[in-house]
Amino acid sequence: MKAPVRKIIGQSTVDGPGNRTAIFLQGCNIRCAYCHNPETQPLHADDVEMLSVDDVIEEVKKGIPFIRGITVSGGECMMHQPFLLELFRKVHALDAKLSCLADSNGTFLFSEPLLSEVDGVLLDVKAWDASVWKELTGSPTNEVVKQNLKNLLLRDKVAEVRIVCLPKDGPIQTDVEAVIAGVKAVASECGRPMPKMHLIAFRPHGVVGTLAETPMTSAEEMRVYESFLQ
């Protein structure tokens, strides 16, 4: 089985807990206004290699025993679910202690058998309100994201919730406070603690379209967003 692999980083410290090998798959199903790597959106690109699961496993092996696990990102990794399943199975067969995380926009439902094989999801909850979501991503609904949030919380598989925070005076708004409140409500409904919330400041680097000229979210604004977590 093969998938288009944009790149593999042997030593990543920003894609989940600890030191990990990060694998970036090509192709995304939505078009976020703040996407900083739009080159990963098309499913096929001339500069992207088709790699087999075993090719990727060879790269993962180079990181053992220095890594805590792997994280598959994108693009949107869930566009390649059969590949993901086989990769995670083979990584776990190498060493059951290696954790396999998926960095996902949450628009594809995590279901069995992948749900059992994935150790955690870095779940984007980009917006709570449907209209904010639609404006931001071009996708009609975020119902699946919310369903994933609930399912994954019940299985204790939310590694973290990620929210990109836009500056207040830009052309598009995010509803960060509503996302935090929404996640809190779902967690409490599930009888689970609040998952780790990762607020990410918007950066214009690499962004094309509406937000290309929007400045980075200031540290001061980020402090305001962080205060919603209290």
Partner: protein, 495 residues
């Protein structure tokens, strides 16, 4: 005598540095260690080098007192009763440290500092402990003016250890060098992560693979990163400078089978003579209070059989273009050379080295300021480091297993490492699992920089280079080494 006149009239040396240099010059007027012709030849060629240890050694080079025993029993010679509270402990240690001799004239080992302190701070609030420890560390930094001085913490997390790390993070002091003994079974992740994070602020502490370094029943880390028995130490450290030996022939066969065995024997015999002089002639073990009061014991001393520049020697004999740290051909030659040295040391019987079964123990010597084009111990030359930090550490693990009395890697990390010390700990865990023995990090933007094992401030190097006096002796060694060894070009590892 011209040398002595220039010491006396120097504007660059402090009073204390002049005094030490004069004592050294006086010692070197004696010639009491026999030097047969071939030994003399290898010394003159710079192949064997005893690192300015002096011609008439009158104390072991590295001394590792059993401070816990001193604290328990007191020290009669110094008229010190066992300390009963925290203030008394700190004063007790300050006084005792002052009287511990070594090659540098300062103590090279300050003990398991957190464990010494921990029982004395029960019931004292953190801020009070912190204030007193800050002053204690300030005193050490300003009076032990040589950074070949080491305190240990760990492997178990203690409140004292936490407070020491907190202070370290906010001060930029070269003394003492600090090492965490790390054992994944005994050291909590959070304590180890705190230690790593601290090192990205102050280049301290280094991380020692505790299980892999338990060469003796109780060891400590002293000076640069010397692994030595507590209540003992090392009589001497002499080194073989492999690239200079390699210069004497173009035949690898002659190098490996003729010159190397001869030079090793000359070096080992010379070390044996030095040991005999210290034990039988100098009077040290008959008269020093540390011995009389059982804080060190003669039969817990060993001797360090140093080697330096394995990389350059291997590269010389490797096929054209093949490099140590990157190519199997060069690495295999290096391992063959290292194994030959290890086998020699394993078969040679040295006097008065009871703790090491009468063997000399290999040490990856870090180099000195006058080494040009010679890489520390068994390290990969700066500029040749493999692209992947994993390959770098795997390589270290392969070679570290031959070295019982100290070897290390020094890795500058990009400042972004501060965001995720857990990731750096994962890398350390992996390296230690493979057998890598000791690693030190510092941040690429840090004023404090690890030269070859010891710490120096870049700002102090600049002062010295401008001709100003500097407090730390080691700045004088570090300044030329920083430039000649191209330390600014060490591969910075990112995240």
């Amino acid at each position: 005598m011209a040398d002595i006149y220039s010491i006396v009239t120097s504007r660059k040396l402090t009073y204390e540095q002049k005094l030490n240099a004069l004592a050294h010059a006086a010692e070197d007027t004696l010639e009491v260690i026999p030097k047969p012709e071939r030994t003399r030849y290898y010394f003159e060629k710079g192949v064997i080098c005893n690192l300015n240890e002096g011609q008439a050694p009158y104390r072991p080079r590295y001394i590792m007192p059993d401070y816990a025993k001193a604290v328990k029993n007191g020290v009669r010679f110094l008229e010190l009763e066992p300390p009963t509270d925290f203030d008394e402990l700190l004063t007790f240690l300050q006084i005792l440290y002052r009287h511990v001799p070594s090659i540098t004239t300062y103590p090279v080992y300050l003990g398991d500092l957190d464990q010494l302190i921990e029982p004395f701070i029960e019931g004292i609030p953190d801020d009070v402990v912190e204030k007193k420890l800050r002053l204690f560390l300030l005193y050490l930094d300003r009076t032990i003016t040589d950074s070949f001085c080491h305190a240990n913490i760990g492997p178990r997390e203690t409140r004292a250890g936490r407070i020491l790390l907190k202070i370290e993070r906010s001060i930029q002091q070269a003394v003492p060098n600090l090492t965490l003994k790390y054992d994944p079974e005994l050291t909590s992740d959070s304590f180890a992560e705190e230690a790593i994070l601290t090192s990205l602020y102050s280049a301290n502490p280094a991380i020692c693979n505790d299980p892999a370094n338990r060469v003796y029943d109780h060891y400590g880390i002293s000076s640069c990163y010397n692994i030595l028995p507590v209540a003992g130490g090392s009589y001497t450290l002499t080194r073989i400078v492999l690239p200079r030996l390699a210069e004497l022939t173009d035949s690898y066969d002659e190098f490996l089978h003729v010159l190397l065995p001869e030079a090793l024997r000359c070096m080992a015999d010379n070390m044996s003579e030095r040991i005999r002089f210290i034990v039988e002639k100098s009077g040290f073990f008959e008269s020093h209070f540390l011995v009389k009061e059982g804080l060190i014991e003669r039969d817990r001393f060993t001797a360090m059989f140093g080697l330096v520049g394995l990389a350059e020697a291997a590269n010389k004999f490797a096929p054209e273009g093949k490099k140590y740290g990157n190519d199997k051909e060069a690495d295999d030659i290096a391992e063959e050379i290292l194994a030959a040295i290890s086998d020699f040391a394993g078969a040679y019987e040295a006097p008065y080295c009871d703790i090491s079964d009468h063997r000399l123990l290999l040490h990856a010597q870090v180099g000195i300021d006058t080494d040009y084009g010679i890489t520390s111990g068994i390290r990969i030359p700066i500029g040749d480091e493999p692209e992947s930090i994993y390959d770098h550490l795997r390589h270290s693990a392969r070679f570290h297993r031959y070295i019982p009395t100290g070897c290390s890697d020094i890795i500058p990390f990009d400042v972004t490492g501060k965001q995720n010390p857990a990731a750096i700990l994962d890398i350390v865990k992996g390296a230690f699992r493979l057998g890598q023995k000791y690693v030190a990090f510092y941040a690429s933007d840090s004023d404090m920089v690890r030269i070859t094992g010891y710490l120096v401030k870049r700002s102090e190097i600049e002062k010295w280079n401008k001709g100003e006096q500097v407090l730390q002796n080691t700045t004088q060694l570090g300044a030329p080494t920083y430039a000649s060894a191209h330390l600014q070009d060490r591969k910075v590892r990112g995240v």
